[in-house]
Each structure stands twice: as structure tokens, then as C-alpha cells.
Point group: C2
Chain length 139, copies 2
DNA sequence: ACAACTTTTGCAACAAAGTTGCATTCTTGT
DNA sequence: ACAAGAATGCAACTTTGTTGCAAAAGTTGT
């Protein structure tokens, strides 16, 4: 394994480009979820806004990242852990935590979403759970 | 009780205006969550975009509506049930369901969010749960 | 019912988020 | 190294959300 980001891209059948590597490395380096803005300002090299949008969409499609719901109308994304980078549409089964203090959004991979029973007639495809509060490092 | 919407507004200490009544009535009439766009096109009378944004913010502050997280960066709002219209900041303890078919987002008031145990050091303030799938009426 | 006061509204102008089409540049397999 | 296909950058645009300010409401006491 020469380079982790290159590997991930190749394994997903994507061509390896500067932009994709850069964005992927940013995700690997930062432990938390990133919004488009974080990526635009966080990449060492500068990439076009459109390229970032398209790259995020590609990563989503390939299951490299997942999007995290929020009430502030900013879409955030985080790396999927290795076990789910295989196929296209996939389900992350972990809880997301958003810290009110530092505004970081994290994946709590070790906490899985509890099973819920919906009323008859509802077909469940995906479950998302976001907990807001104060994170470990901010207390 | 002459008028439900007027009542809610007065109980929350808000002055009763045409816009607020209209938007509130739209929420009462529609059983599901509404985005800004739904309100703009759904009101019988036409109101300025800014007015709608501000009204939604006011309703949020007063605990008349709550916002529902989504991954599509569109904020949706739904009426809080009576028991929580009292104070400002409040927590809704029910699950939200988003139907892939009809694109409606509903509050499943009868299904409450299960208790989760986070790792030590995390302080929980609010929990949101959104289930995606196919709703009762679409099957 | 009316004046005085406080809120709310609409307008303009702006900032940020997200999308689409097209020509140019880069990747990749051979 | 080359041709075919994919990704990028640019321009232009749509949608979402915000702010300041003057005009138009709503509210309260008399």
C-alpha cells in the first residue's frame, strides 16, 4: 500500500486525480464530518467549487463517504469505515454526534443505532440518528 | 375558542397577523412537515420570502414548530404537539419518517426515540431520529 | 374609537449553497 | 505514446437564507 487515498479510489473503480486525492486525504486527516465549505478552505491546493460538489457526489455514490442530516441546512459528509466502502448504496449504522461548543460533527462508530418498531405499513430503508450536546473534548 | 391559529399565537405571546395565521393554518391543515418552499407556494395569500423565514424563526423560538434534520440541505418544519407548545427551547421525542415515494416527511408521534448510551464524557442535549423508507399510504 | 407605541412586513441588496452545459485538460488501458 | 473516456474549470444560473431600513401593520391605555 503506497498511499491510502489512492488505494481507496482504485478500489472504488475511480480514476486517481489530484482533486479526489486531496479531498479524500482531508477526510482521512480530519476526524470529523466536513461540509463543502470546510473542504474548499481546507484543501492545500485550490479546487473549483463545482469540482468539490461533483467529487462529493461521486464519493457518495461509491460509498466512500456518507452524508449526515442536520437542521442547519448544511450538508456534512464523513468517511465510511472500511466495512462499508464496498458497494454503492449502503447504510451506516452508527450514531452521529454534533457538539454545540466546537461545532464538530463526529461519527460514534462504537454506538450503533437501536432497533425501532414502526407502526404497521411503514417500510424502513435507512435510519439516521443525530445526537446534539457537548463532546468529550469540550467538557 | 374562536380560531385555533389565533389561539396558539396569543398563547405564545405573539401578535396576531395575517401572515402568521396563514402559515400556522397551513401547518395545521397539512399533516406533514413543510419546507420554506412549500409554505411560499402553499399559502392562499402571498407573503414575502423574508417574512416567511422570520415567521418560521419566531415559531421555532416559541416552540410552536420544530425543525427536522435532513440530508438534502432543505430544512423542514412541523407543528409541535400541544404538550410542548409551552416553553421556548424544547425537545421533541418522536421519530420522523421520510417517504422516498411521496417525499413527505411525517412526525410519528406514537413512536418515541429509544434511549441510547453514549461513551463516557458525552453530554446529551437533544436526540433526533429520521427514518427513511416507504410510508403507509404509498405501499 | 383614537392616538402613541411597539412589532411586523416588504423591499432591496447581498451572501452562500447547489446545479448545468460545454470546452479543455487529465487518466487510463493498450 | 496514443486514442478514448473521464474529470476539471469556467460561466451562468437557480435556490436558500440573511440584514438594514422605511412603511404598514398590530397592540395598549384612555
Amino acid at each position: 500500500m503506497i498511499n491510502k487515498s489512492t488505494d481507496i479510489l482504485k478500489n472504488s473503480g475511480l480514476s486517481v486525480t489530484a482533486g479526489r486525492k486531496s479531498i479524500l486525504e482531508l477526510f482521512i486527516a480530519s476526524g470529523n464530518a466536513l461540509a463543502h465549505q470546510d473542504i474548499e478552505s481546507g484543501c492545500s491546493e485550490q479546487f473549483d467549487r463545482v469540482t468539490i460538489y461533483r467529487t462529493l457526489q461521486t464519493f457518495l455514490d461509491k460509498g466512500i463517504i456518507h452524508s449526515i442530516p442536520a437542521t442547519d441546512s448544511i450538508t456534512r459528509y464523513a468517511l465510511c469505515n472500511e466495512t462499508c466502502t464496498t458497494t454503492g448504496h449502503h447504510h451506516d449504522n452508527h450514531i452521529h454526534f454534533r457538539c454545540e461548543q466546537c461545532s464538530k460533527t463526529l461519527c460514534l462508530d462504537e454506538v450503533s443505532i437501536p432497533v425501532v418498531k414502526l407502526p404497521d405499513g411503514y417500510l424502513i430503508q435507512e435510519i439516521n440518528m443525530v445526537v446534539t450536546g457537548i463532546c468529550k473534548s469540550c467538557r
